[in-house]
């Protein structure tokens, strides 16, 4: 009922089908906080295995994009699809209705997220953080979960710190554990929300190195919000520049960064590059 007041959902497909179903699709997604429009009719497709970086000034809605995909925020209109299926909505009697908690949990399992401030569980060790989801949600045995967690802690270079609590780890180390924790759930889509913004400059490369490895080795679909233009250029398939809740301009790193078409893009890039 709520939906029908807001907008007509019949224009949205119940499922995405065909040869080129995107891993993530935002279709006409709007998000408001009161009268403030954070995202304004966003349309964005991310292909399977694609690495898309979102840049833009603060308040442009870029973090909101990730948070909506992780279902940490609700949306006001539009539909988000993940792996062909609606995330924010579900099918009921041949129509789309707002997703219930069970549907959200089901589709959310395809998505993993890393946060600016890591958000590790402080009362658990590095290993404990990584086995929590697999054991509690996926129902793995302790042995299976630990095996998987150790493999991933090894991947991020943290296997030797497996028994340390987060309070004993540096920011860079905590963020690497957080990446392992997210990967332990075997997501299809990984979200990186300014994962290096809270780090000291000398440890940023620890984390970017891990993400670079993921791009090379895994067929993960990734969305990243960052202020590090250099890193974005190096690893992204595509960069989207957000302004006022809309994609102002997007393209390959070379296209967007070296040859921006739009005046606001040029201004933003020159300001950022100067600051760097």
């Amino acid at each position: 009922m709520k939906n029908s007041i807001n907008h007509d959902l019949s224009q949205y497909p119940l499922k995405l089908e065909g040869d080129h179903v995107p891993m993530v699709r935002f279709q006409n997604v709007t998000k408001k906080y009161g009268s403030l429009v954070v995202l304004d009719g966003l349309n964005l497709d991310v292909a399977e295995g694609e690495m898309v970086t979102i840049i833009g000034p603060s308040g442009s809605g870029k973090t909101t994009v990730l948070r909506m995909l992780m279902t940490l925020e609700t949306i006001d209109s539009g539909v988000i699809y993940v792996d062909g299926e609606p995330l924010t909505h579900m099918e009921k009697n041949g129509r789309l209705v707002r997703a219930n908690a069970a549907h959200l949990r089901l589709i959310r399992s395809k998505i993993g997220m890393c946060f600016q401030h890591f958000n590790l569980f402080p009362h658990m060790t590095a290993l404990g953080n990584c086995v929590e989801g697999p054991m509690q949600v996926l129902g793995l045995s302790k042995r299976e979960a630990e095996e998987r967690a150790l493999e991933l802690l090894d991947l991020v270079g943290m296997a030797d710190k497996r028994d340390q609590h987060p309070s004993r780890l540096s920011g860079g180390q905590q963020q690497r554990v957080a990446i392992a924790r997210a990967l332990a759930m075997r997501p299809k889509v990984m979200l990186f929300d300014e994962v290096t913004s809270a780090l000291d400059p000398e440890v940023i490369s620890e984390v970017t190195g891990v993400i670079r490895g993921l791009v090379d080795q895994h067929n993960l679909t990734m969305l990243m919000v960052t202020h590090q233009i250099g890193f974005a250029r190096e690893i992204s398939d595509r960069i989207c520049l957000f302004f006022d809740g809309k994609i102002e301009e997007q393209g390959s790193p070379e296209r967007l960064l070296d040859n921006p078409q739009n005046e606001r893009t040029q201004q933003f890039l020159s300001a950022v590059l100067e600051a760097n």
């Binding site: 992780m70 279902t71 940490l72 949990r105 959310r108 399992s109 998505i111 993993g112 997220m113 946060f115 401030h117 958000n119 590790l120 569980f121 402080p122 009362h123 658990m124 060790t125 929590e132 989801g133 509690q136 949600v137 609590h165 987060p166 309070s167 004993r168 957080a178 924790r181 997210a182 332990a184 759930m185």
Partner: protein
């Protein structure tokens, strides 16, 4: 102190110590009720149902705003009119447990609200259910900051057990009153009661502080 009678003191001490056992039992039993019920009260206020939240919120306010003594009398003397016939012990434990549950629910609330929002989001990101998130992530972290308040109320409930004497629970105060009335001497029994309370309260408070520090360290919340 010329009037203090040691013979009398030794004579009544065993009886008072026995009653102290009852006091500890009443405090412990009431506290056990309060600890569990307090958690129910705080979680009920955090559900999505606004009606439930409102009702429980008002219930907690009501309990906190009326005297414990009145609640004890009410359950014991008015309860039977509604078919609720309870022994002094049962009525006393329910009254004191309910009363302190209301206070403990506020302590828990403070603890739960002290857990950063990022912890909820991280739990959501690995798809933990709400129940699992409370059980595994939120409550363990809410516990250490709540312990000091919980300890205060443990000592508080202990000091409030004399109120159960009014409905005939044979705890310390009740026993001291009887001894006084039987012997027409109140100095020794009341003094001993005070000393017993001190001898239990002070170490308890100290132990709780130790426990809090140890728990924080064990959970890796401090270096």
């Amino acid at each position: 102190m010329a009037d203090w009678k040691f013979n009398f003191t030794w004579e009544i001490l065993p009886r008072l110590l026995l009653a102290a056992g009852n006091t500890i039992l009443a405090a412990g039993g009431g506290y056990a009720v309060a600890v569990v019920l307090g958690l129910v009260l705080v979680l009920a206020q955090r559900t999505r149902s606004r009606t439930l939240t409102f009702i429980v919120r008002e219930l907690v306010e009501f309990i906190r705003s009326t005297p414990l003594l009145l609640q004890i009398f009410f359950i014991f003397y008015v309860g039977p009119q509604f078919g609720l016939r309870l022994s002094p012990w049962a009525a006393g434990l329910i009254a004191i447990g309910l009363h302190y549950a209301a206070y403990l629910s506020e302590v828990y609330r403070g603890g739960i609200e002290s857990v950063p929002k990022g912890q909820w989001e991280a739990a959501r990101a690995i798809n933990l259910s709400t129940v699992t998130t409370y059980r595994r992530i939120i409550i363990p972290q809410a516990l250490p900051p709540a312990l000091a308040g919980m300890g205060n109320y443990l000592v508080g409930i202990f000091k409030d057990t004399p109120m159960l004497s009014v409905i005939g629970v044979a705890e310390l105060m009740h026993t001291a009153n009887s001894i006084g009335a039987e012997n027409f001497r109140y100095l020794e029994p009341y003094t001993i009661v005070g000393l017993i309370f001190l001898a239990i309260s002070l170490p308890t408070a100290w132990l709780i502080r130790r426990f809090e520090t140890a728990l924080r360290r064990k959970m890796g919340l401090t270096r």
